[in-house]
């Protein structure tokens, strides 16, 4: 008998849960000032998420999922991507989307049930939020194929949850990206839960990163609550993709500190003790501690930032709340490039509000 394949999965961490370096920091993080934009973006995301939940609770928004506890992942992904790259998100990536230039007003419109919220003014080629788990992985492969065919130095980046890694779409996509050596990065936001199903029930695999091995692509694990580690690992993956060296799978370890969505009550299925334990690991306090230790962040900065985030979020909320509802005829707008004649009467009926007439 002989061994024909072996693998190992690297785990990267630079800042421990207290915000203390566990090894020398990479170049980009030597100057702690460089990390402040990530901190600001995470606090903005947390403020936005909290506001979105509050709006839902008061009947002013539809069902929405918060990224509480996993803000670092989206924030880094969205900030480090180049403007001309293409992002294919799932529903828990407000942070990444905001960093990509999607406005909070657009996000609120979408989550209030208004399709116009997906007509992003900023990143025109980014995909809308994907609700069907893992489908965006395949779309990302198609996007990456097009980018490669045209020899453009652009990258498709997609995010998914731990639950998504059980889907065929996920495996099929890694596999195709591997055979064609495509410029795509898959980022798993492993928050340990898929609604009520814990990570342990999702797969017997020790890591989700190792699912890359079967597809013949690099896979690695990173502390998903450590901005420095995330940026370090994601940078490399982006660079690899951009320079023609193919796809990467990144598993970012984090924890969902809140309900799955506003329609969920996590107390039904998980121990609050477990949640409390993970509060000690969360990414925002971790980076703040580091910045404070480095003496580049203080109480005044914090107060100013919080006021500023509240103001920005409130401005978006005001703009969102002032959005007139879409007219009923909009159901037929953009259904086809040109509405087929056969549907004209239905469109007209809808436009006049007499859909069932």
């Amino acid at each position: 008998m002989s061994v024909v394949a072996r693998f190992e999965i690297r785990h990267t961490q630079f800042l421990n849960h207290l915000g203390e370096p566990t090894q020398p920091l990479p170049d980009f993080a030597r100057d702690p000032d460089n990390l402040i934009p990530y901190y600001r973006a995470m606090v903005l995301t947390r403020t936005y998420d909290a506001k979105a939940v509050a709006l839902q609770r008061t009947g002013q928004l539809g069902t929405v999922g918060s990224s509480l506890g996993q803000e670092a992942i989206g924030t880094v992904v969205g900030s480090v991507m180049q403007r001309e790259d293409v992002f294919l998100p799932t529903y828990r990536e407000a942070g990444a989307q905001i960093a990509r230039g999607v406005t909070m007003t657009e996000l609120l419109r979408y989550w209030s049930g208004d399709e116009r919220g997906s007509d992003y003014r900023g990143p025109r080629q980014d995909f809308p939020v994907c609700i069907t788990i893992a489908a965006q992985c395949a779309h990302a492969v198609g996007v990456a194929y097009a980018l490669k065919l045209r020899k453009e130095p652009r990258v498709a980046v997609t995010m998914m949850g731990d639950g998504a890694t059980s889907k065929g779409d996920f495996y099929e996509s890694l596999n195709m990206a591997g055979t064609w050596h495509l410029p795509v990065v898959f980022v798993i936001a492993n928050n340990q839960w898929a609604i009520s199903v814990p990570r342990s029930v999702q797969s017997a695999a020790e890591t989700l990163a190792q699912k890359a091995v079967a597809a013949g692509i690099p896979g690695e694990q990173v502390d998903g609550n450590d901005v420095v580690a995330l940026r370090y690992v994601f940078d490399q993956a982006l660079q690899r993709a951009r320079s023609g060296d193919g796809p990467t799978l990144i598993e970012a370890l984090s924890y969902r500190l809140t309900d799955h969505t506003t329609a969920d009550d996590a107390r039904r299925y998980r121990d609050p003790e477990d949640v409390s334990r993970h509060w000690a690991m969360e990414p925002v306090a971790r980076l703040r501690n580091y910045l404070v230790l480095q003496k580049v962040w203080g109480k005044d900065d914090e107060e100013k930032l919080i006021a500023e985030c509240n103001e920005r979020v409130q401005a978006a909320v005001n703009e969102y709340l002032a959005t007139p509802p879409p007219p009923p005829g909009a159901m037929f707008e953009h259904l086809y490039a040109t509405l087929p004649a056969a549907l004209a009467w239905q469109r007209d009926a809808a436009a006049s509000g007499k859909i069932h007439g």
Binding site: V141, A146, Y336, A342
Partner: protein, 326 residues
Amino acid sequence: MAEITLVEAVNLALAGEMERDPSVLVLGEDVGADGGVFRATLGLLGRFGKERVIDTPLAEASIAGISIGMAAQGLKPVAEIQFSGFVYPALDHIVNHASRLRHRTCGRLTCPMVLRTPCGAGIHAPEHHSESVETFFAHVPGLRVVIPSSPARAYGLLLAAIRDPDPVIFLEPTRAYRLFKQEVDDNGQALPLDVCFLNREGSDATIVSWGAMLHEVQIAAARLADEGIMAEVIDVATLKPLDMPTILESVAKTGRCVIVHEASRTGGFGAEIAASIAEHGLLSLLAPVQRVAAPDCVVPLPKLEHYFMPDVDQIVAAVRKTLEFA
């Protein structure tokens, strides 16, 4: 002008459009060196290279899924699903994403893709190779569903499908792939989508059908003509969106309608046509609308397939039945 088969017409249309439009590419299982299991993509690999003639891994869901990503980036993917019985994993992407991408982004992203797949029974194929799947797709807003019935229609409709800015499901009747030849001018001219074609004029009854069944329908119409019964024959060609005005106009003239399809009866697309006639043309009917369709059973394996397929006698009988009324 050459006489070619339906599958050769598909090939001709693909090759011509790939030549004219560099954003067109084909992908699927065995579409490259093998030229597709039915040879629809024969010779394309040599002419256009493996970047545009893509042998994919064996994964139908993702063949559809990646096509969406490509299309959103401005390519025009023409994806092949090898046999219609294997199209179901692709339904998720087609229904949930391809059909909605334009709408849900207010036109920011679009999905100009074609999903080609052989369809239908009658070629003594193994299990899962003989399905009629048109109704699954025809129910979905945002899609076009097209089924050619002849080489010339296959050529012109496929060109139209590729040029269409929205997703098109292009169902190729396997039984008609090599059933007969027809002169097809490789002139790059598309046929219109969204319209039914009048295959034969008549005044006594309207027979509405699509795909391979047109073959039996034409024979039935000829036989009826020998008896002095003049049937008008309509090839629906584009099932979605459905050109009801053409059908209603014919029914207004003949007062009788027989709908013929190879898919099972219940919930088949014939039901939609019959219901629309009831809504908009009931008063011009002289007899109840008749459906000739496959029975509501699993597509039988080859030994019993013959009993499953609607045949000429059934079509003739259905038309005669409509004539028994007034």
